[in-house]
């Protein structure tokens, strides 16, 4: 049975990616289909090496697929050259990395201003929006400091502010709590839920049940494929964030989080 998503902002069809390796090619993605609706919060969950980060990189235009098609906001982004993808990322994609990837030589404010300026915004306007974002994410008081003085949770909040600088269509997060302690992870997840409540579309990659359960929908991957069986999320396992630390948002109890079949499966 095929599960279709109404009003998908992201459509992935038949996505394949193989990496050359010394011993044998690594087939990271073996035909992935996925729909994400506008304003949906989707977790892509699976063990290390299952291809979830590769999927995220391809959706973000950071890597090129061997086969398949990705449509974002009505535009096919596969088969494009890297410069087209770079321009696409400016407006449509915000990326949050596990290890923050902040520009350490720039201040907190400059880190958030930069993406807007790359996208062609004037500095003054970019700064105004950056300050608003930093205030919203609780790091506004540190705007003129360097990222090195921030805690892990604050650094990730800064990375999220940077990812939101250009009001992206899609926010991608690759293990956003992976480098954080419980408190930092909880802060980040609560932030994602707030953003989602405000209508932000989010695709988050994680290997943690606890983190994944904060999303609307959980997509499980294994061996480069989305698992075809629509089963409930497994019981949480021990991890950096315990279940109690990640309260489900109102009206969206964790029990409602569902593991979704891949379209076409």
């Amino acid at each position: 049975m095929s599960v279709t998503t109404p009003d998908p902002v992201l459509q992935v069809r038949g996505l394949r990616r193989t990496f050359e390796a010394e011993l044998a090619p690594v087939r990271a993605l073996r035909g992935v289909d996925l729909d994400v609706a506008t304003a949906e919060f989707v977790s892509v969950m699976g063990p290390s090496g299952c291809g979830k980060s590769t999927l995220l990189n391809l959706v973000g235009g950071l890597d090129l697929a061997d086969e398949g098609e990705i449509t974002l906001d009505g535009q096919v982004i596969t088969g494009r050259d890297e410069d087209w993808l770079a321009r696409m990322r400016r407006r449509h994609i915000g990326i949050v990395f596990q290890f923050f990837n902040l520009l350490e030589g720039m201040t907190v404010l400059e880190n958030v201003v930069l993406p807007a300026m790359i996208a062609g915004a004037r500095r003054k306007g970019a700064e105004t929006r950056a300050r608003d974002l930093l205030d919203l994410l609780g790091v506004g008081a540190r705007a003129d400091e360097l990222p090195a003085v921030l805690s892990g949770g604050q650094r990730q909040r800064l990375a999220i502010a940077r990812a939101l600088a250009n009001e992206p269509t899609l926010l991608l997060a690759d293990e956003p709590t992976g480098a954080l302690d419980s408190d930092g992870g909880r802060e980040v997840l609560e932030l994602f839920r707030r953003l989602h409540d405000d209508g932000q579309t989010i695709v988050m990659v994680t290997h943690s049940h606890e983190v994944a359960s904060g999303a609307d929908r959980i997509v499980r991957m294994r061996d480069g494929r989305i698992e075809p069986d629509g089963t409930r999320a497994a019981a949480p396992v021990a991890g950096p964030i315990d279940r109690g630390a990640v309260p489900s948002p109102v009206g969206r109890a964790e029990s409602e989080a569902r593991v979704t079949r891949a379209p076409g499966s």
Binding site: L62, L64, E82, R89, R90, F97, F99, L103, I118, N166
Partner: protein, 147 residues
């Protein structure tokens, strides 16, 4: 005074090939140093450059960033090196001439400087080409993965 200056000039003319050789050698070493510095710096910053690309910087813009770095280093070298060279040259000239028993005012090689500065910028641009290309060769995901 006139005879001393003439003798000094003859002395300089006699040593001119070796002086030019030293100057060319210094220029070559500087160019190689710049090239190596840019290559190492670009390699060291590849994660940062990949982040910039993830934020939407296009490949020509990344190459331009490496070029600007090369030009900035060269400009800094020129701003420091030219005055130091002029002062050193004057001191050496005066020492040489006074050793002959007289003093003579050295001349400032304006024409040579006018050629050297743009030539240094051109060399910097050429030296930045390979590191710039290396910086954008891989996909951003490859560079972010190795961080």
């Amino acid at each position: 005074m006139g005879a001393t200056r003439l003798i000094a000039r003859v002395e300089v003319r006699r040593r001119w090939p070796s002086l030019v050789g030293v100057a060319v050698l210094v220029a070559l070493v500087s160019a190689v140093g710049l090239f190596h510095g840019l290559l190492v710096s670009t390699r060291h910053r590849r994660g940062e450059l990949a982040v910039l690309r993830a934020l939407g910087l296009r490949r020509p813009q990344v190459r331009a960033a490496v070029l600007v770095q090369a030009l900035a280093l060269t400009a800094a070298g020129t701003v420091v090196g030219v005055p130091v060279g002029l002062i050193t040259g004057r001191l050496v000239w005066r020492a040489l001439v006074s050793g002959l028993g007289a003093a003579a005012d050295p001349q400032t090689p304006w024409a040579l400087m006018a050629v050297t500065v743009p030539l240094a910028a051109l060399v910097a641009a050429l030296m930045s080409w390979v590191p710039g290309r290396a910086a954008v060769r891989a996909h951003p995901a490859d560079q972010l993965r190795v961080e």
